[in-house]
Structure formats: structure tokens, C-alpha cells
Amino acid sequence: MNAVTDQLAPPILEVEDLRTHFFTRDGVVRAVNGVSFSLRPGETLGIVGESGCGKSVTALSILRLIPRDLGRVVGGSIRFEGRELTGLDEQEMRGLRGHRISMIFQEPMTSLNPVLTIGLQIAENVQRHLGLSKKAAWDRAVEMLSLVKIADPHRRVHEYPHQLSGGMRQRVMIAMALSCDPQILIADEPTTALDVTIQAQILDLMLELKEKLGTAIIMITHDLGVVAETCQQVIVMYAGRKVEEAPVEELFDRPMHPYTRGLMAAVPRLDGRLEGGVRPRLQEIPGIVPSLTAPLPGCPFEPRCAFSTEQCARHMPPLERRGAAHDAACFEVDRVLEKSLV
């Protein structure tokens, strides 16, 4: 495993039974419905799932970025370095965001101010949180840009976001997010909007900076490839719940939840042999994600699951330890494991 990760160190972030609900005209949407996990210093934790599974909402809940008129955290606790975040007031949260915990998003253009130079935006963040002088903050901005390998940082600090390419903007976002030496960087689909060669650059950069600065990363993505290449620990989410958690190699070797298996079998592979001209069928997960407004009494994956039993339809399977550091929420793990992976 990674040298920077300290398995014995106490976790810096502990999320317990987090519940975030949205209140809409059609009813209460249980976007996050009892999710727990912890993050150790220097660790890269992946949260993977399809749209609407609650992975982004989990991240936004930690930083309390859920628009208040739409929804809110209704239960659970979020402890950062032993300190409970759910009770903090807005002022204290502002002190944490972008400083101790920072976040980058899929589309960097939405989080950069189009009328300010990128240098000014980084410098402002540093001035606000670290109380540096104007001069020192500006120097820090240049330093951060060269850290994220933007060529010619002295010239680039004076540019506006629209003058940069998509990959470059994401670098600027990373520079800004790391400018105050955060403990945790939350990356929400950071490379989804980028081309594959640029994605490779950005992922490479993030891993390199993590080694250098020791920042823990929460990587939120729908792409199992990104998870496999960047993460140490992985959480699989489905319909607002955590259905499986394991170290990355264990998860890909022995996926226990039928949904995790389904995801892995559904993606066309780049590895593996090509048999001349034959196109094997991809394994489908039938049906679609259930409504979050009317939760099923049993396992949310039951209607789409090939292993489902009567028990699954009636009771919610609890998340249980099923192997070394491997948790899964499924009654039928033994039967699932009997079937070999494709």
C-alpha cells in the first residue's frame, strides 16, 4: 500500500449514518440514506456509483454546500479531526472550506469567477484563510501554478479563466484547492468533462501532488477505471446507501455485492482478449434505479438483482464485515461469491 497512508493513525474524517434529504413537490428525496465511512490521513478513498446514487450529495453534505431551500442534512454526524461539523455555524464552516477541506468539481468554469484573473482568485483564497500579505499571497499563487505544472506561471497568473483550456482550468482549480495545504481534497468527477489524454495528465498530477503534500483525497467518480488507477479504498453506493466497501484490489478481485459485480460486467473492457470479429454481449443490469422518494422496504437493488430472494424484498440487508476489511450489504454474499467473475 501507499507509504504516506498511515493505517494506524486515527482517521481525520469520520462520517456516521449521514442522511441528507431533499424536499421537493413530489415528496422527500432520500438522496443520502445512512452512509458511514472514515478517511485516514493521506488516503485516497473512492466513492463510485451511477448518477443519483448520492455520491456527490455526500461530498456536498460534508462541506455543507447543499442549497438550503432544496434540502439539508437531517441526521448523522461528520467529525473532522475529532470535531463535529454538523453543529458548526456558517462562519466556522466558511473557515474550513477551501482551507482545511477543499473541493474541486467536474466543470471548473462554474467555480471560477470569469471576470477575475486566476492569480487574483488563488491569492484571495490564501489571503482570506492564511492571512498572508498581498505580496506573499501573489507569490503563493505563482508557486501553486508551477506546482500544478502550468508552464510560464508568471504570465499565466494574469490570465482569465476563459483564456485557458479545459485541462488547464482543472489545473488551476487544483492549484486553488491546494493553496492552503488542506487535509482533505474532495474531487467530484474531476476528469469527467476532460478528454482521455488530458484526464491522464490530471490524474497523474493529482497522485503526484498527493504523494508530495500528503493530502487525503475523496475521489468521487462513476468510472471504475479511474477508481482502479487512483484509489486505495473504495465505497460503492447505490440509491443513497453504501452497499460495499473494500480496499481497491480486494474489491476488484472479490466483488461481493451483486450491484458491484453488475457494474464491472457492464463496462466494455479495454483489457482482455479480442476474439476475431465476435462481439460478446455486455452483461446488462436490467431496469433502472428506484425512486428515492418511495424507498422499498427491502434492499434497493432487489428488483434488478439476479440473486434476490424473498428476504431481500422484505428486509434491508445490513452492512456487514464479510472478509478482511471487506464490508457488503447483501444477504446472499455466499451465493454471489460462488459464481465466478466473467
Binding site: E50, S51, S165, G167, M168, D195, V196, T197, I198, Q199, A200, Q201, L203, D204, H222, D223, L224, G225, V226, V227, A228, E229, V248, E249, F252, G262, L263, M264, A265, A266, V267, P268, R269, L270, D271, L274, G276, G277, R279, R281, L282, Q283, E284, I285, P286, I288
Partner: protein, 336 residues
């Protein structure tokens, strides 16, 4: 390959004028597609892969005659459709249909699903009244939707179901060629698998020819028979997929393949990470468009325009460092 050619594109060029100033004078052109040639046979999937701005979608839209080509030739079946106007093109639209990327904005929100799918049938006067309704119901059934859903509106369907509607609409007039522009990119992986399987089943049943445009190499590898890799408006490599994935001949293809993340944590790939961004298609680099980012570029690459040549049987590449007939697996990095 004895199947008849259904779509043949020769030296296709599409330039978009760049206008500036108060008088909107043309100051240059974005060369979105800059000399693309390929043949598509019955029952075959030709994948067109590349990064944003490489011109792959423009190829699709030009072939569909939603855009007018600037130069080159497009032959659909036996008809040259290159310079046909709106009216003259109309009868040929029966033979070529399109599936769009975004299942949310590619269906008219104010038409019922049945009307959307039945519209092409109506446009070409293929069936009327209850006969048309029966045909639409059969199409719904064919793409895995309940015929009762005909009365619903697009917003009542999920993303995957909407893409099924798009496919049903494309099939409605029994075309021979389907241009699919990123048909699964907006879908979640579990739904993506459903749509890809459906497309493969339909192709095998109806002997459709697909021009399948995507940025996703894994999807390409799954559905295509042959793959064309585009970079800045040009095809840099064109080969059967086995050859392309097992032994890419163009440095760009090689980099693209090595950059794609693989869902297997035990594979630690030797990555080729390309430096910098794709240059702007309004000012493409001289010589080989890729030389600014190519790890193997030599001095001659800056000046010489590489032609797409058949290096091995059926395997074309546009790189001056490859010679026809050679078997050398890898290029030597350039000496700097």
C-alpha cells in the same frame, strides 16, 4: 469483405468560416474536417474515435447533410449526395438515419413518444392511421419499450429509455446506414450496456451499417469492426479493431490507448502521458498535426504532410516514420 459498400466518403472537407470585426469579414477558417476518406459496408460498424475538437461529430453531421460539405464526395448507396440541396436530399434520408448523443434534448418535449417515432413513417408516406400505429408499436417492442408507452411524453422516460426511443425513430424508415453520434456517452454504465447490446442485436438482425462516433475507447472496442482514429480533422489511423488495439501504428493512437484508465488495479500500465493540449483547429500545426505532442517526432514531421498509407494489409496509418510492409513493433523515441 464481399458486402456491398453502403457509404463512401472521399476527401471530405468541412471548414467553418471565422468572422471578425464590425463587418463580419472572414478572417480564417476552422478546419473541422480536413480530408477524410472511408468506406462503410453493409452489416459493418466503423468506429470514429478522437478527442473533442477532432472533427468526428462534424464528419457525422456532414454525412447526414445537416451540414454542407466544403469539398469532397459523399456517396450513399449508389447516389452521390455531396451537393444535393434540401429538396433533392429528402428522398435519400430514408437510407441514412441518425441516433443522437443527448437523449434529453434530441426528442421534441412537446410530442408524444408515439408521434416522435412515427414521424419519419408519416414524412415518407409509408403508412397511415392504424397501420402506422401498428408499425410504431412494433418498433417500440423491437427496442424493448412497451407499446403502451406511445402516449407518454419524453420527460416521462428515463435516459436509457429515451435513447431507445431515438433508436426506434432511426429504424422507422428501414435505413441502411445509421450514424450514431456518441449514443451512449450520456448514459450510466448499467444502462449503456443495455443500449449497446440492443444496437448490436439490431445490426445483426437487419444488417445495418453503423458509423459509430465516440470518444470512449472501451465502447469502440466493443462495438466496432474497424476503427478510424481522428486528430485535428484528419484520420491518423484506420484499422480492424484487433490490429488497432493489439498493435497501434500511429503514436497518437498508442498514447490514446495508454491513457485510458483500465478497471483493474493490478495492471500498472506504462503510461504515455502526452504533454500539452490539442492545438486549435483554426491554426493547426504545420506538417503532421500531431508533431507538437508526439514523443517520436523528428525534424521532417514539422514540414512533411503524412498521407494515410496502408502499412499492413487493411491497416492504414498517417505517420512518415512508418513504412508500408514494415513489421517493426515500436518506434524509437526521437533524439533531442
Amino acid at each position: 469483405m464481399s458486402e456491398p459498400v453502403k457509404l463512401e466518403v472521399t476527401d471530405l472537407v468541412k471548414h467553418f468560416p471565422v468572422r471578425a470585426g464590425l463587418l463580419q469579414r472572414q478572417v480564417g477558417a476552422v478546419r473541422a474536417v480536413d480530408g477524410v476518406s472511408f468506406k462503410l459496408r453493409r452489416g459493418e460498424t466503423l468506429g470514429v474515435v478522437g478527442e473533442s475538437g477532432c472533427g468526428k461529430s462534424t464528419v457525422g453531421r456532414t454525412v447526414m447533410k445537416l451540414l454542407e460539405p466544403s469539398a469532397g464526395r459523399i456517396v450513399l448507396g449508389k447516389a452521390d449526395i455531396t451537393s444535393l440541396g434540401r429538396q433533392a436530399m429528402w428522398p435519400h434520408r430514408r437510407n441514412i438515419q441518425m441516433v443522437f448523443q443527448d437523449p434529453f434534448s434530441s426528442l421534441n418535449p412537446r410530442m408524444s413518444a408515439g408521434d416522435i417515432v412515427g414521424e419519419p413513417i408519416r414524412n415518407f408516406g409509408l403508412a397511415k392511421g392504424s397501420e402506422r400505429e401498428q408499425q410504431v408499436a412494433a418498433l417500440f417492442d423491437r427496442v424493448g419499450l412497451r407499446p403502451e408507452a406511445m402516449r407518454k411524453y419524453p420527460h416521462e422516460f428515463s435516459g436509457g429509455q429515451r435513447q431507445r426511443l431515438g433508436i426506434a425513430k432511426a429504424l422507422a424508415v428501414n435505413p441502411e446506414v445509421i450514424v450514431a453520434d456518441e449514443p451512449v456517452s450520456a448514459l450510466d454504465v448499467s444502462v449503456q450496456a443495455q443500449v449497446l447490446n440492443l444496437m448490436i442485436d439490431l445490426q445483426e438482425e437487419l444488417r445495418l451499417a453503423y458509423l459509430f462516433i465516440s470518444h470512449d475507447l472501451a465502447v469502440m472496442r466493443h462495438i466496432s469492426h474497424r476503427i478510424a482514429v481522428m486528430y485535428l480533422g484528419r484520420i491518423v489511423e484506420l484499422a480492424p479493431k484487433e490490429a488497432l488495439f493489439e498493435q497501434p501504428l500511429h503514436p497518437y493512437t498508442e498514447a490514446l490507448l495508454s491513457a485510458a484508465p483500465v478497471p483493474n488495479p493490478r495492471i500498472k500500465k506504462q503510461r504515455i502521458i502526452l504533454q500539452g493540449d490539442v492545438p486549435s483547429p483554426s491554426k493547426p500545426p504545420s506538417g503532421c498535426h500531431f508533431h507538437t505532442r508526439c514523443p517520436y517526432a523528428i525534424a521532417r514531421c514539422k514540414t512533411e504532410d503524412p498521407k494515410l498509407r496502408e502499412i499492413r494489409p487493411g491497416h492504414f496509418a498517417a505517420c512518415i516514420r512508418r513504412e508500408p510492409g514494415e513489421t517493426q513493433p515500436a518506434l524509437a523515441p526521437a533524439q533531442h
